[in-house]
């Protein structure tokens, strides 16, 4: 016997019931490419999942959309998980999505580019915002996994270079759900509670692109941007570039490199300051010696010119003496001339001046004699 016809509504309600009670269809994971992605003002994200020959509609409610690490884009390869729901009004069904997982490097690259452009437009990569690292930090904060290779490498390098700087490790998850909020929170806490931290290293060791994803998330980018403490980003290997690297004040190629950038080598510093001290001593010695020599030279000049003056004066005195000696009138007495002096000591040069009653002194070259004058006279010309 034929079943009695049922209404369309009844049919759709029946199918709806079947769909919502089927154990497979209430928790199904489907793989496909996103197409026609629309962010609706009611918070839902609507899109289709397609493959080569089929298409299914999907709806992601707002409360789950908030947990997405990246914006959905057409062309992304996705694994979505959810339950099937019937849209009774027009008899179509869609997947009510609870979780979205991005698959494949291509999709990650799309998400990365999108985030990069967004944050770039918001000014998070601006060079003018970048802070200078301190040359000599006293305390370094390290935000990374407590168990990874990164924290070991960082501690090892810092300890080998610098035994002055203190280190605070903030253990966080670096991959998987919850990693990004923890990293972000740690950066915020370091800024709020540690006014003595001079520089932060934020990072992790190498891994697959999806493992590094936390460092591409917006929440981490904003915490780095807002950090008062300068941040060195150190994610993965040399070839890995993350959003964190671009927001951070300095990008280190690896955690090891971050440790080298963060703290100076104290042995090297000691050598440097010793060098400067030596140079200062040397310079001061040179200057003192140079000035002593200058003083010595000046003293020698003074002594020399003084001696010259004395020598000159001596020579002058000598020649004057010679002149005097040469002109001494008594020298002529050697030739038989004599000098006649009156008793008053006056040299007689004219016979007319002679008073015959006076007594005269004759001075010879050797010796003298007193005499009296008998007669005076003059030559015919009166001399």
């Amino acid at each position: 016997m034929a079943i009695k016809p049922i209404s369309v509504t009844q049919l759709n309600e029946y199918i709806s019931r079947v769909l919502s009670t089927d154990p497979l269809l209430t928790n199904v994971t489907v793989h496909g490419e996103a197409s026609g992605v629309k962010y609706h003002s009611n918070g839902f994200i609507y899109f289709s999942l397609v493959d080569q020959s089929a298409k299914v509609n999907c709806a992601l409610p707002g409360e789950y959309a908030r947990d997405l690490k990246y914006e959905l884009q057409d062309g992304m390869d996705l694994n979505i998980n959810g339950s099937l729901r019937l849209y009774k009004k027009n008899g179509s069904y869609s997947i009510f999505v609870r979780n979205v997982e991005i698959c494949g490097e291509g999709s990650l690259a799309i998400a990365f580019e999108q985030m990069k452009n967004k944050l770039q437009n918001e000014g998070l990569f601006d060079k003018s915002h970048k802070k200078q690292l301190p040359a000599f930090p006293y305390k370094v904060g390290v935000i990374t996994s407590a168990t990874g290779a990164a924290v070991r490498d960082i501690l090892k390098i810092i300890k080998s270079r610098n035994n002055v700087v203190d280190i605070v490790v903030f253990p966080v998850l670096v991959q998987g759900d919850g990693a990004a909020p923890q990293i972000s929170h740690a950066i915020d806490i370091a800024n709020e509670k540690f006014d003595d931290i001079d520089v932060l290293i934020v990072g992790r060791g190498g891994g697959a692109a999806e493992d590094l994803w936390a460092f591409n998330e917006e929440i981490v980018a904003h915490s780095i941007y807002d950090s008062r403490i300068p941040v060195i980003s150190a994610v993965g290997h040399e070839i890995d570039f993350t959003i964190s690297d671009m927001v951070a004040d300095v990008r280190a190629e690896t955690p090891t490199a971050a440790a080298q950038i963060a703290v100076p080598d104290t042995t090297e510093l000691q050598n440097n300051i010793d060098d400067m001290k030596r140079q200062m001593s040397l310079e001061l010695n040179n200057r003192v010696m140079f000035n002593a020599m200058k003083v010595e030279n000046m003293m020698k000049d003074i002594r020399d010119s003084f001696n010259n003056r004395i020598e000159m004066a001596r020579n002058q005195v000598g020649s004057l003496k010679m002149l005097l000696t040469e002109n001494d009138p008594r020298r002529i007495l050697e030739n038989g001339y004599s000098i006649v002096e009156s008793s008053g000591g006056k040299v007689i040069t004219d016979a007319k001046a002679i008073d015959k009653s006076d007594k005269f002194k004759l001075i010879f070259h050797k010796g003298w004699a007193y005499c009296t004058i008998i007669e005076t006279g003059s030559d015919k010309d009166g001399d």
Partner: protein, 64 residues
Amino acid sequence: MAINGESFETSLEKLREMSEKIKSPETDLEGSIRCYEEGMKYYKNCEKILAEAKQKIETFELEQ
């Protein structure tokens, strides 16, 4: 950790400045003696900070 009110960074900077200034031809002998004395003060400050190193490594557990 600054000693005598001067951080390592400042002391190092001043030491470098004095070790340059002392070499300048414009610095006279008296000036160079002052440079030396001041430079030595900063040198001792730097050295003291380096020598008094007591590295502390701690872990700060975040409350989630």
